[in-house]
């Protein structure tokens, strides 16, 4: 993996982290008055995927905790801020809040609020237009029966869809081991499709991606960590591992500061 590629991933992740930290502050000072689902800690999954698939035409489905995915795949930062403020200039006309964001320009489709419903919808769209479809979900939403049915149908029809399970091990605060005794990637394998389990370290994830085909169904279970509360501004576990620390140490804090400046300017403009 080229160092420039890794650096680009780090830059995108740094922007996401800076964004979420600022949202955290804006929730604390009550500028944002709606439930927000922060993706801090999970940035390296969308950052790596977005760099890997940069030149490929694709459609993307996200649900709550999707700020980082939105930003990594080119969603407009100001429109996201406006959305969190309930402003009609927002990416979902001020109606979507934190959980139902979208970018028509970047082919990022919003979520309706029913956990995992984007699984079947993304699968149906992949069937109908045969375009590479990325379906980002959590390890809990992926347990929904209809989400699992979707994986089965995607395999049956050999659809160009990648399900990316951002596995932070938590459904709000209920751990995976309490909820199930099976793993998503093994389920995908049982459906006769490629199922991968890996960490969100970009070097590991990149290696797995080079073994995936754009025209085929794939399920990537990416083990990651959620730094903040399920919803709102708060910390469950101050000692949780953070991939961003490793790469900030490697590349220095230059890009972190640049990202913080971009976010600060965007907020300043939006709050004027």
């Amino acid at each position: 993996m080229h160092n420039e590629t890794l650096l680009e991933i780090h830059k995108r992740a740094a922007l996401c982290r800076a964004f979420e930290q600022e949202v955290y502050r804006q929730v604390e000072n009550k500028t944002i008055k709606i439930p927000v689902y922060l993706s801090a800690g999970q940035e390296y999954t969308p950052a790596t995927l977005s760099v890997f698939l940069d030149s490929i035409d694709k459609q993307i489905f996200i649900q709550h905790r999707g700020h980082s995915t939105y930003l990594c795949f080119g969603g407009d930062i100001e429109q996201l801020i406006y959305e969190l403020l309930g402003d009609k200039r927002g990416c979902a006309n001020g109606m979507g809040g934190s959980a139902s964001i979208q970018s028509r320009e970047k082919q990022i489709y919003g979520h309706d609020g029913l956990m995992g419903s984007h699984g079947p919808i993304a699968t149906g769209m992949a069937y109908a237009n045969k375009k590479l479809t990325l379906c980002f979900t959590g390890d809990a939403a992926a347990e929904e029966d209809y989400f699992i049915s979707s994986i089965g149908w995607a395999s049956t029809k050999h659809l160009p869809i990648w399900y990316i399970v951002e596995d932070n091990n938590l459904s709000i605060l209920t751990e995976k081991k309490v909820r199930r005794n099976w793993e998503m990637h093994r389920l995908a394998q049982a459906f006769s499709m490629k199922g991968v389990d890996c960490s969100d370290d970009p070097e590991h994830l990149w290696l797995q991606l080079t073994d995936c085909y754009v025209g085929e169904p794939v399920l990537l279970n990416v083990r990651t960590n959620r730094l903040f509360w399920h919803a709102g501004a708060g910390i469950d576990d101050p000692n949780i591992p953070d991939t961003h620390k490793k790469y900030t140490e490697r590349f220095g804090d230059k890009y972190v500061k640049e990202a913080e400046e971009i976010v600060k300017e965007a907020w300043k403009k939006c709050l004027q």
Binding site: G96, D112, S117, G119, P120, I121, G124, M125, A128, G152
Partner: protein
């Protein structure tokens, strides 16, 4: 003269072959081709057999709609909407309002009556009625069906098309009945339109004039000024439905009463579970029951 069945079959064929649309559902290509309403086409033509995962199936169709394929999503029994509806009403129907992204789809939801048990019998269009962003129609004639399809192709809305197998052999149109000096007004929906018309014809022989105002467009409710004018003369009427009355029938009665101060009753399925045998079934109001209700109201 083509029947409703022929019309639906030809419409689906046209949709797939000429408009490059999709038809999606379960067991479409099985014996019977959904009551003979599907042409003998297969996946390469756009006739898509889905797995038996009803909830996901509704989502697959929504995804196809999002891709602009204007899917006809076939639900063989309206009661199956308890599983099929979630993503249609929560995503497709809201997408335009929420994201400015239209998600037009044509939900062919089919009712049948008699001996089909607690879930599969009758219409369940009220399930969709309470949700925003859905147009609900119930065509019972060939011309009505063609008009509904034409409307759909010029619209970017979600259409819930409440079909009834009891109408599939019908070749006739069902015009409203505006007798002179009407005594009572009927506002029937779906399969009850046939019984309402029969009741009106029978009572006319006794000199009881019954006006019949067919409700094809349920949401939005489309009635003409003439319909309201006629009700203003009678001052009383009945809204008839093939669903439970605690839903569309009462809601429409309320809307009509707001426009014309009148006494409206509702008739539909009894508020109880249907069984399979005749003695425990739960059927829509028959001609005889409608006549009895009219006599009671005019007494």
């Amino acid at each position: 003269m083509p029947t409703v069945r022929d019309t639906i079959k030809n419409t689906v064929r046209f949709h797939l072959k000429e408009n490059k649309g999709l038809a999606m559902g379960q067991c479409l290509t099985a014996v019977g081709w959904v009551g003979g309403t599907l042409p003998e086409l297969y996946e390469d033509d756009g006739m898509v057999e889905l797995s038996m995962a009803d909830v996901a199936g509704g989502g697959f169709a929504v995804g196809a709609a999002l891709a602009g394929r204007r899917p006809m999503y076939v639900i063989r029994y309206q009661g199956f909407n308890w599983f099929n509806a979630p993503m249609i009403v929560n995503y497709a129907a809201k997408s335009k309002d929420l994201w400015g992204v239209p998600c037009p789809m044509f939900v062919r939801s089919i009712a049948m009556e008699g001996g089909i048990g607690p879930v599969a019998g009758s219409s369940h269009h009220a399930l969709y009625y309470r949700m925003p962003g859905v147009r609900i129609v119930s065509p019972m004639t060939p011309k009505e069906y063609m008009n509904v399809y034409d409307d759909f192709m010029h619209s970017d809305d979600v259409f819930y098309v409440s079909e009834h197998r009891g109408s599939y052999n019908n070749q006739e149109e069902l015009p409203n009945l505006y007798p002179e000096n009407p005594h009572i007004s009927l506002f029937p929906i779906s399969i009850t339109r046939f019984a309402a018309q029969e009741a009106a014809f029978e009572l006319a022989k006794e000199g009881i004039n019954v006006s019949v105002h067919h409700i094809m467009s349920i949401k939005p409710l489309r009635l003409s000024k003439l319909d309201y004018k006629s009700l203003a003369v009678t001052g009383k009427g009945i809204v008839l439905d093939d669903d439970y009355t605690n839903g569309i029938a009462k809601s429409i009665a309320y809307d009509i009463i707001k426009k014309v101060d009148s006494k409206l009753e509702v008739m539909g399925l009894d508020d109880r579970t249907a069984g399979f045998y005749t003695q425990v079934d739960n059927l829509p109001p028959s001609k005889e029951k409608i006549i009895a209700k009219i006599r009671e109201m005019l007494a």
